[in-house]
Symmetry: none
Subunit: 187 residues, 2 copies
Amino acid sequence: MRRTKKERQQLLSETIVENPFVTDEQLATQFQVSVQTIRLDRMELAIPELRERIKDVASKTYENEVKSLPIDEVIGEIIDIELDQRALSIFDVKEEHVFQRNGIARGHHLFAQANSLAVAVINDELALTVHANITFVQPVHAGDRVITKATVVERDEVKQRTKIEVVSTVNGETVFAGEFDMYRTKG
Amino acid sequence: MRRTKKERQQLLSETIVENPFVTDEQLATQFQVSVQTIRLDRMELAIPELRERIKDVASKTYENEVKSLPIDEVIGEIIDIELDQRALSIFDVKEEHVFQRNGIARGHHLFAQANSLAVAVINDELALTVHANITFVQPVHAGDRVITKATVVERDEVKQRTKIEVVSTVNGETVFAGEFDMYRTKG
DNA sequence: TTGTTATTAGCACTTGGTACTAACATCAGT
DNA sequence: ACTGATGTTAGTACCAAGTGCTAATAACAA
């Protein structure tokens, strides 16, 4: 045995999770065992055959097509909202959001969270950012949990504008602040 | 013939686009023709077999998983740059960048392009956005090609600040403008 | 030595096809 | 009515990537 059965099965699981498009034959070559052994392994691990795996991936896309887009509309997770008044969202900064060089979050992610919260708080189908004045007060790092609060401070129904103040904090400290001028269709 | 060949093939295309998981046999039943006819139809229409269709759907998910997460790396393609002076980038707005509801590009994508260009133009390892004053002049839609120009307008070596003006245009018309205040380590 | 577990081999069968050949059916034009 | 083009159906051999099953062999431990 090149490896123990357990080891092989562990690696097998990982390999298939990583790349569901791999055939039993490819796996057999990779692990230097027979195709039959791979099949037995899949049985024991209750891993479906290639075609089923691919179908699963594909059908999940089809489900997600309806679900993931609306979720995507907001950067960060909204945890509280009172339309036309205030809203609160959380955004966990991960490795993929920071500059590799210095580990500091890229500005546009903080902006994205703030901006989408500003859009979300407005009780209207159409809300667009017209103007924004923003300040990056302190650098944010991977692992930080950014809590962002948007507050509607002014509403001009004639001009169809709404002014929103947004403040983002990490551990109570302000890291980002901005004033957003939003346009809306319904006054 | 229940329908003409053309009609059937038209419906066939639509059916498969709508539900790529349908087999030739199901299609044959649905259109009251033989499986062979369906196969010939697929040939003429260059529609791949079920398994290939499913694989396509599945692999697109896998591509997207890599593509959709990086709202991070370089937003837009930098086509010209003179460090500490000016830079130019192009960003093609696609379906995934706009609000489903109204087809207008979400503000943070335009901001992201402008912001990363501002970061890129600075000849320094560490460049951070401190403050930004931005205006979304006109809505941008899917299919638009946004050309963004960043120009360094002021540099304070003592305060380690650099002021950059950014203007984004679509077909020569300004759609976004901003002033970015950047911090840098090397004066 | 015997028993257990692990591995390999081989065969028949399945799905959803491809590739190819051949037989018909239908209708249009002359 | 005959010919030809087009459309449809049938049938065969073959393929990939399996399942399900039986049987042989290897490795090791008690």
